[in-house]
């Protein structure tokens, strides 16, 4: 598979589109269907596609395993940190209303941060599981 020219070229053309679509689903979630969960899986799928065609070692050069394993807890930390920030600004845990002066702006900021946390955890978990499976040898 790694030496098939059509698959290699098609992957190179598709990959930016897949990642762009992932970002669209992430940041357009306020207006259309989508959000961190869906975008996370789409972004991870893009990287996994690259790994399938170009080999695992090529993928680990772009996204090293230590980065993936750091991102898994990082996303949850960003999410919970946003909640704590709501707490520190005088509201309840995960109350975004006081993060900024304008309530709508504050809500959108909070949702943005929270969805970013979800994106990071979901995409890195998918990649981590893929690494764990693909990195194993048949025994």
């Amino acid at each position: 598979m790694r030496f098939d020219a059509i698959l290699r070229v098609a992957t190179k053309i598709f990959l930016p589109l897949v990642l762009l679509f992932g970002l669209y689903v992430q940041f357009h979630g306020d207006y259309g269907p989508g959000g961190g969960f869906q975008a996370g899986v789409i972004v991870a799928a893009g990287f996994i596609l690259y790994g399938l065609i170009y080999g695992l070692s090529a993928l680990t050069r772009i996204v090293p395993p230590w980065l993936v394993e750091t991102m898994v807890p990082l996303g949850v930390a960003i999410y919970a940190g946003t909640g704590v920030a709501g707490w520190l600004t005088g509201g309840n845990f995960l109350d975004y209303s006081r993060l900024r002066e304008d309530v709508h702006l504050a809500q959108e900021t909070g949702v943005f941060l929270v969805e970013l946390g979800v994106l990071i955890t979901v995409s890195s978990t998918m990649l981590a599981i893929f690494y764990a499976f693909a990195g194993r040898d048949r025994s």
Binding site: G35, Q38, A45, A80, A134
Partner: protein, 194 residues
Amino acid sequence: MAEATIFNAEALFNMALLTGLAVLTFGIARLRNLFGVVVLASIYSFLMATVLVVLDAVDVAMTEASVGAGVSAVLLLSALHLTRMEEAKPMRSTLLPLFVAGVTGAVLVWGTLDLPDFGDPTQPIHAAGPDYLERTVPETGIANAVTSTLASYRGFDTLGETTVIFTAGIAVLVLLKRGTRRRNPKPGEGGDAL
């Protein structure tokens, strides 16, 4: 009159989709070739995503299509790379497992009898919906009520969901990371062989 026709067409479409799901389930249970099972499971997820689109749950449909049909298929194929293509013949009689599965299924069907009717407007889940739809734009400025409910009104639930994914990821890593270090890697059969 026109409304009744549309409803019937939708019901027919739903019937076709659900029948397809049932047929696929039997196929997955009967098939011994695991590659075929992965392909069927992927088709199952696509059909399920279509069912969710029909139910107007576009966000969930998107998740089902990308997780169920996309990433899961790849992960299952990666797992298949580590094992045999054919499912081994069962060593003992399958009557007892069949009985247990049948009883469990019957109990689940029995449980659904207590569920409210499909689309019953008097149920709390449908009563709360319009409330959120009205409140989301004035209170949060976010047009998509799904996002505002998920991330703001029910933010704590979503934090829990994210933690579940985190936990699942860590658990899989703990289980699979053990023994990844190979003693003598054979040429051409490393991790890149996928």
